[in-house]
Structure formats: structure tokens, C-alpha cells
Symmetry: C2
Subunit: 142 residues, 2 copies
DNA sequence: CTTGAAGCTATAGCTGCTAGAGGTCGTACA
DNA sequence: TGTACGACCTCTAGCAGCTATAGCTTCAAG
């Protein structure tokens, strides 16, 4: 039987975060000692690992909830899990291309700065005048 | 004289967001009509454009506050603005490499899914067992 | 003079945690 | 058996950066 602290150590999660997952229904309510402290078994450890791993891959808590449901019903088609993963991949790709545009723009800003006075600082100038941008970059969004 | 709605349209900002920027001191308190409605001039429009553009480039509101201060004092050295931009560039580069690792991992998950039952869905399997990952991907962080 | 869009304030909510206060439990050691 | 002390408990508030709602007032066109 694992304490919440042991769970936290094994999964690299903060104790508070585990309690938060319980609160929002991602983790089940565990058993308690007589004094009211949580005690976990291996199933809960696996579930928490699943959640953490999915978070590291950038899945939202809502997506993870769905994935957990699918994982709990092993007979159903995996098409849905696949769809969720594809959606996530698409998002990551979109973010990547936006970030690449930003990198280009920032590099240009930084390389053109000659180190003089702010009056003619290229960094500030570019920020002042959007038309100087080579790329479109509307919304960074995560 | 521009209404808040006109400002919003011209800069692609929500009206509420402009009021929010005023509240946190990023935008100055504008003049008002007798009835209490905000009226803006060109200086405010420029400032808001600056803020929005910097946001699109991923700068935090705190960084923008600093950049605005520098922009307001044209005599000072632009070294600081340069430093802020470089910091931002570094962050973007870090995010890029993390996202690239995620993309690789997600692609692998998705490509290996054969479309069967969730019992042996590769997507769920990978999530269950972190050791199957080829790359390290601790923390996505924005 | 009326109508309706656009403005106003104030407050709460979103995601995904994280931190703090103030108190209780569990266990190892003397 | 007592006690010390770390780990646990609940509850609440806070972070970024907005966004949305409710309930009201103002502005400008017809």
C-alpha cells in the first residue's frame, strides 16, 4: 500500500496534483487509513503513470479522460484513441509551424540590433510596425 | 477619436482584453466622454498595436511592460531590449525542440495503430508504458 | 424621440496546476 | 509509553492571460 507521497515520488508528480486529479475525477477516490490518509494500490499507480505520460505528450486533461475510458473498456474499437492521438499530433504540428515562424522573426530582430540607443533599436522598431514582419504569426496559442 | 470598439477592430483585440490591459496598467487610462465612455487617440492605438504584436511573438505581459518602458525612453541603450528578445528566442527554441520530440513520439504512436481493439491499441499501450518511448519528453510547458 | 448597437462595471470562469495556513496522523526512537 | 517530527489532511487563494455573463447606461442614426 502506497502513501500519496510514495505515489508522487514514483511518478514525478506533486502531491497536490494527485489530490487535484482526484478532485476532478481523473483519479478514483482511494482507500483511507483509520486516520483518514490515502492509501493506493498498483492499479492507481498505473493510472497515474498513464495520466502523467499523456500530459508529457501534451494531451489535455479532457483528452486523457477519454483515453482512460477507452483503456478501461478493452473490447471497444481503438479508432477513437487513434483519432485523439491524431488530433494531438495535428495540434503539435500547427504549434511547431507557428513557433518556427516566430523563431525566424525573433532571429531577424535580434540579428539586426546594432547595440545603439533605443531610439533606433530594431527590436522595438519591429514591434512598433507589424508591416516589417516577413511572416504571418497570428496567435501563438500554447 | 476612437471608441474602444474601433480600437479592437483595428488591432484584432477583444474589447474586454483592452479593458484588461488598462486594468493591469499596460494601457493608460484614456480620456472619457461626458457619459463615461473611453475615447482613444493615435498614441494609444500605436501602443496597443505594439502590445498585440509582441503577444503574437510570444512575449509575456511582463516582458512587454519592460519593452514599453524602453520604447518610452528613446535615449537609453537598447541592450536591454535586445536581451529580452534573445531570452524570448531561447524560449522559443526550447519549446521547438520539445515539440519536435513530441511530434516524433505521436507519429510513432499513430503509425503503429493497426485499427483493431483497444485491448491491443498501440496508442494506449505507449501511454501505459513510458519505457516504450524513444525520446525523453519531460514537461511540455507552453 | 425612440431604438438598438455598443458601451459601462463587476464578477466569475477557463486550464492545470501550485502554494499557503493551520491542523492531524503515523512511526521511530528513547 | 511518551514524544518528536515528517508526512499527511482540508480549505482557500493565486498564477497567466484572457473570456464571458449579467444588468445596466450611453450614443448616434432615423
Amino acid at each position: 500500500m502506497l502513501t500519496i507521497g510514495a505515489m508522487a515520488r514514483k511518478t514525478g508528480t506533486k502531491v497536490q496534483t494527485i489530490r487535484y486529479y482526484e478532485q476532478i475525477g481523473l483519479m478514483p477516490e482511494p482507500g483511507r487509513t483509520e486516520g483518514g490518509q490515502r492509501r493506493y494500490g498498483d492499479a492507481e499507480l498505473d493510472r497515474l503513470s498513464f495520466v502523467r505520460h499523456a500530459r508529457q505528450l501534451g494531451f489535455s486533461l479532457d483528452a486523457i479522460r477519454e483515453l482512460l475510458n477507452l483503456s478501461d473498456n478493452p473490447g471497444t474499437s481503438c479508432a477513437e484513441a487513434d483519432a485523439i492521438a491524431r488530433r494531438q499530433l495535428k495540434q503539435v504540428e500547427q504549434r511547431l509551424s507557428r513557433l518556427e515562424a516566430l523563431r525566424t522573426e525573433l532571429e531577424r530582430m535580434v540579428h539586426e540590433c546594432s547595440g545603439g540607443r533605443t531610439a533606433d533599436c530594431r527590436v522595438l522598431e519591429v514591434l512598433r510596425d507589424h508591416s516589417e514582419c516577413l511572416t504571418e504569426h497570428d496567435e501563438v496559442g500554447l
